[in-house]
Symmetry: C2
Subunit: 177 residues, 2 copies
DNA sequence: CGCAGGATTGATATTACTCAACCGTGGTGG
DNA sequence: CCACCACGGTTGAGTAATATCAATCCTGCG
């Protein structure tokens, strides 16, 4: 379940081969904020031997993780370029995340969230795997689980969203109101 | 004022020597979201010659910017390490940003925001430069400018925060309620 | 002097949070 | 086999907080 914890030392870079992983932090007041999502091909952190990770990584599904020594990866220019590309991807995703959280309405936030999930974990655009509990979605979006639940219920009533199975939804129309 | 725009090609990495810069995106609905803040020593993006930046960079204060060719920077292992370190810093800041935006109350959000400003632009911990308009603070935190204004007014009434000059505040006590 | 841009303040409405009850399911143990 | 429990999810009612709309203030500048 847990892949690494805040405080663990770096030096070895974990790469997701299969499955999905969430990264989160715990605030002083106990509030959990999910700060990142990773799927196949993604590196989970970038700390060298002198670094320490400051978040928790937990598997959302069954996962295979490979571990690479940071020094070796950065020594070779080809793999170093891959690491840099990965970091660029992380920055781009964090910024989408920020953009999503800047939305003032819960509906817009969750519509953006579904876009992100589709891009991160989705095969085709409108079939969206959702291996997260309502609480986890809330901790990702900065909403409450009740608001998440109500918004999904509304979308299902409006036929914009249909549940395929326990962890998959299909969206028919743009979700944003 | 504008340092680069969404759509500009990469290849040359801008580094802030002095001053402060904001990075922002514009959503389809016109909403502006500030996604990053950079101060002296920070690189503003990491796009190689094949990349394109997807946000806008605008100076918040008078600025000096130096430009480095990406290929040269990455060829040398010493400067490459600096670039990676910079990317790590960006990721860490974006995550603090996300964490801040996960706070449910405006007061908590803005207290976190002040912490971030202190770390990004501050000399000592409690003297906080704030070269942003209320609207820009709102676009950073995901609040409205009225809420920002009211919260600052409340803090000043409570003597937790005092304005030193047009762009500097001093905080006396923890701002979080 | 008048104007423009940012900032403040007020009144109101909406929206999401909070608290709480209840449902459904899967697992465990008697 | 069934009772019970734990956990996630749904739904409802009420409240508190912030967005919204609008008027006014302040300051620097032309």
């Amino acid at each position: 379940m847990t892949i690494f914890q805040s405080g663990d030392t770096g030096g070895i870079l974990p790469k997701v081969l299969t499955g999905a992983v969430m990264l989160y932090t715990i605030a002083e007041d106990g509030h959990r904020q999910i700060v990142d999502l990773a799927g196949p091909g993604d590196l989970l952190h970038f700390e060298g031997a002198t670094g320490v990770v400051d978040c928790y990584a937990e598997a959302l599904t069954d996962c295979q993780i490979a571990y690479f020594p940071a020094t070796a990866l950065l020594a070779n220019s080809e793999t170093a370029e891959y690491v840099i590309e990965q970091m660029r991807n992380r920055i781009a995703l964090e910024r989408r995340h920020i953009k999503m959280m800047g939305r003032k309405s819960a509906t817009d936030r969750l519509a953006d969230f579904m876009d992100i999930m589709a891009d991160c974990l989705g095969a085709d655009t409108d079939t969206i795997p959702l291996p997260l509990t309502r609480q986890q979605i809330a901790d990702f979006t900065g909403l409450t689980l009740e608001t998440v639940s109500r918004t999904f219920a509304k979308w299902e009533r409006e036929q914009r969203l249909t549940r395929i199975d326990a962890v998959t939804y299909r969206r028919s129309e743009p979700l944003a109101a």
